[in-house]
C-alpha cells in the first residue's frame, strides 16, 4: 500500500513531465537543426561523361566514384553536373541527394564533349544563388572528376585554371580528381588534387581544416616564422555574408510625401531651352558679322 502511495504520484508526475520535456526539447532541437543547416557541407560533383571516357574507363570511373560516395556522410548536401551540351545541372544541390546521384552516375553514357569551364560556371552560379538565398555559411566543395582537357572553351586548360582560381577566391574549395593519370594540370591550381585510384588521397580531398589552433604548443612555430608573423600585415578580408549579398540593392520604399523630381532641363522630354539660346546667339552673331561685311563692302 505504501509503495502504491508513492508510486502513483510519481507516475503522475512522470506523465505530466513527459510532454513538457518533449516541448522543451523541441525548441532546443529546432535551434540546433537551424544551426546545422546554416553551417553544413555542400558538395558539387562535376562528372566527366565525355566520349574519351567510353568503354572500360567509364566503368572504372563509375566504380571508383560509387565506392568513394558511400564513404561521404549522407547528411552532406550534394549536386551533380554532367557534361552534356555546355554542361548540365543534372541534380541540383539539396538534402538527401546522395543516393539519387549514385543512381544517375551509374546510368551515364560517355558521349559528350568536355565543357569543364561551362560546368564550373554552372557550379559557381548555383553556389552564389545558394549563398544569397539559403545560407552563406556552408562549406562548399566542388569536385571535378575528369580524364581530360577542356574541349568546349577556347581558353582550354588555362580557362579551367582561371575558373578554378576564381572559385577559390570566393571561398569555394575545388578538388580535382584525375582518372588514368590525367587531369594533373589542376595540380597546384585546385585546393587539392587526387587520383581516382588513390582512395586515401580522395578522402584527404574532403578533410576538414580547423580555423583556430588550441594551445600555443599545438603548432610548431619556428622563431623565424614568429618574427615573420609579427611583421605580417594581414590583408583585409570581407565577411562571407557581405560577399553573398544580392547584387542589386533593394529599392528604398518611396514615401507618398516625397516630392517628385523635376525633369532635367536637358532631358529628352524636357524643354530644350539651352539649345534655343545657343541657336539665337549663333543667329545674332552671324547676322552681326553679315552686317559688318555688307557695311565694309559699301564703304569700299
Amino acid at each position: 500500500m505504501n509503495v502504491m502511495k508513492f508510486f502513483i504520484p510519481l507516475l503522475a508526475a512522470l506523465l505530466l513531465a513527459g510532454p513538457a520535456t518533449q516541448a522543451q526539447d523541441a525548441t532546443a532541437d529546432a535551434l540546433t537543426r537551424e544551426r546545422e543547416e546554416q553551417t553544413g557541407t555542400a558538395i558539387t560533383i562535376l562528372f566527366d561523361n565525355s566520349g574519351s571516357m567510353k568503354g572500360e574507363k567509364l566503368q572504372q570511373a563509375k566504380s571508383a566514384f560509387s565506392a568513394w560516395l558511400k564513404t561521404v556522410p549522407a547528411e552532406y548536401k550534394f549536386s551533380l553536373i554532367t557534361f552534356e551540351g555546355k554542361g548540365q545541372l543534372t541534380v541540383p544541390l539539396g538534402e538527401k541527394t546522395r543516393d539519387l546521384i549514385a543512381q544517375r552516375v551509374a546510368k551515364l553514357n560517355a558521349n559528350t564533349s568536355t565543357p569543364i569551364c561551362g560546368a564550373l560556371r554552372i557550379a559557381r552560379e548555383q553556389i552564389e544563388k545558394r549563398r544569397r538565398e539559403v545560407t552563406p555559411y556552408e562549406r562548399h566543395v566542388v569536385l571535378i572528376f575528369t580524364d581530360g582537357q577542356e574541349t568546349a572553351d577556347p581558353r582550354g586548360e588555362n580557362g579551367v585554371r582561371a575558373d578554378i582560381a576564381a572559385l577559390r577566391a570566393q571561398t569555394v574549395e575545388v578538388v580535382g580528381v584525375g582518372f588514368h593519370g590525367q587531369g594533373d594540370y589542376m595540380n597546384g591550381v585546385a585546393t587539392r588534387f587526387a587520383l581516382a585510384n588513390n582512395e586515401q588521397e580522395l578522402m584527404q580531398g574532403l578533410a576538414k581544416v580547423d580555423a583556430e589552433i588550441g594551445g600555443v604548443d599545438d603548432l610548431l612555430v619556428s622563431p623565424e616564422d614568429l618574427a615573420a608573423l609579427k611583421r605580417y600585415q594581414a590583408p583585409a578580408v570581407q565577411p562571407i555574408s557581405a560577399s553573398a549579398a544580392p547584387v542589386t540593392a533593394e529599392a528604398e520604399p518611396v514615401s507618398a510625401d516625397t516630392p517628385s523630381q523635376a525633369p532635367p532641363a536637358s532631358g529628352k522630354k524636357g524643354f530644350p531651352l539651352n539649345w534655343i539660346i545657343i541657336a539665337v546667339a549663333a543667329w545674332f552673331i552671324l547676322r552681326t558679322l553679315s552686317n559688318v561685311g555688307k557695311k565694309a563692302k559699301r564703304n569700299r
Binding site: 544551426r35 603548432l219 616564422d225 608573423l229 562571407i240
Partner: protein
C-alpha cells in the same frame, strides 16, 4: 477613447486590480472582452454616436495572479519581425540607438555558452527586449585569424607543409599546409556558430529560468552573422592573449526610439 483605455491600464496598475487572462483571451466567453466589445460597438453604431466603430486591439498584457508585482508584460506570441532583412532595416534606421552591448569570450575552436555563466547579461538582455517591443538583437561572431595568417605567411615563403601536435600527445605530425579558403570556410562556420550560440543560450534562459514554451518565445528579432576573420580585435596576433581577444561573440541591442516601450507604467505618464 485611446486616453480612456490608456488610463484604464494605469488604474489597474495603481490600484492593484487583478486582470483576468481568460476574460481577455477566451473567444467564447459570453461576458468576456470579445463579447463585451462586440456589444459596445453595436450600441455605438445603433445609437448613431459613431458611423462605423473600430474594434479595439488586444494589448496582450498578462495581469498575473500576484497583485504585488503589478502589471506584467506578456511575451509577444507573434513574431516581431517577419525576416532577418526586416531586423537589419530596423537596426540601420536613423532612429536606432544602442541600448546594451556585451562581448562573450570563447575558448579556441569552441562555440558553446551556458546562460548560467552569464545570468546578469541574459537578465539585462531580456529586460531590454521585453521593454522595447521593436528592439533588435545583433549578434556577431568572430574567429581568430592567427592560423589564417600563419598559413598565408608560410605559403608566401613557399612552404607546403607544417607541423601540428597530435591530439592527446606530445608528438608532432607533418601535414600538408591548408589553403586560405579551407581555413576561411572553417572560420566562417565557427564564427556563425559563436553568434548563434548566444541566441541558443537566450532560448535556454527563457525556457529553464522563466519557464517559457516555444510559442512564448519571440526569436525573430535576432540578426545572427558570422564575421569569420574579417574583423579581428588584434590584426596580427602572436600571443595567446591576443588570439583570445579575437575569439568572441558580440551582442548589441538596438532600440528604435520612435517606438513606445511596451512595459509603460504610471511613472512614464507623469
Amino acid at each position: 477613447m485611446n486616453d480612456f483605455i490608456l488610463w484604464a491600464g494605469v488604474d489597474s496598475e495603481i490600484v492593484g486590480l487583478a486582470g483576468n487572462t481568460e476574460f481577455f483571451t477566451a473567444p467564447n466567453n459570453p461576458v468576456g472582452f470579445n463579447a463585451t466589445q462586440t456589444r459596445a460597438v453595436a450600441y455605438y453604431e445603433q445609437t448613431g454616436l459613431v458611423s462605423k466603430a473600430q474594434k479595439l486591439n488586444f494589448a496582450g498584457w498578462d495581469f498575473g495572479s500576484d497583485f504585488g508585482s503589478g502589471l506584467k508584460t506578456k511575451e509577444p506570441e507573434k513574431k516581431t519581425f517577419a525576416s532577418a532583412a526586416e531586423v537589419r532595416r530596423a537596426a540601420d534606421s536613423k532612429d536606432a540607438s544602442k541600448l546594451f552591448s556585451y562581448t562573450f569570450k570563447f575558448p579556441a575552436k569552441m562555440a558553446e555558452i551556458r546562460w548560467q555563466d552569464y545570468r546578469q547579461v541574459f537578465e539585462t538582455m531580456h529586460e531590454k527586449v521585453t521593454r522595447y517591443g521593436g528592439a533588435v538583437v545583433l549578434l556577431r561572431g568572430h574567429a581568430d585569424n592567427f592560423f589564417y595568417n600563419f598559413v598565408q605567411m608560410k605559403r608566401a615563403k613557399g612552404d607546403t607543409t607544417y607541423q601540428r601536435r597530435i591530439e592527446g600527445s606530445t608528438q608532432f605530425e607533418l601535414l600538408p599546409l591548408p589553403t586560405a579558403e579551407e581555413v576561411a570556410n572553417s572560420a566562417n562556420k565557427l564564427s556563425y556558430s559563436r553568434a548563434f550560440a548566444v541566441k541558443q543560450a537566450y532560448a535556454q534562459y527563457l525556457r529553464e529560468n522563466l519557464g517559457r514554451t516555444q510559442d512564448e518565445m519571440d526569436l525573430s528579432r535576432f540578426d545572427v552573422k558570422g564575421m569569420g576573420i574579417s574583423d579581428p580585435v588584434v590584426k596580427s596576433p602572436t600571443t595567446p592573449e591576443e588570439r583570445e581577444a579575437n575569439m568572441r561573440g558580440e551582442l548589441v541591442i538596438i532600440a528604435v526610439e520612435a517606438e513606445v516601450p511596451v512595459g509603460f507604467g504610471a511613472d512614464d505618464l507623469k
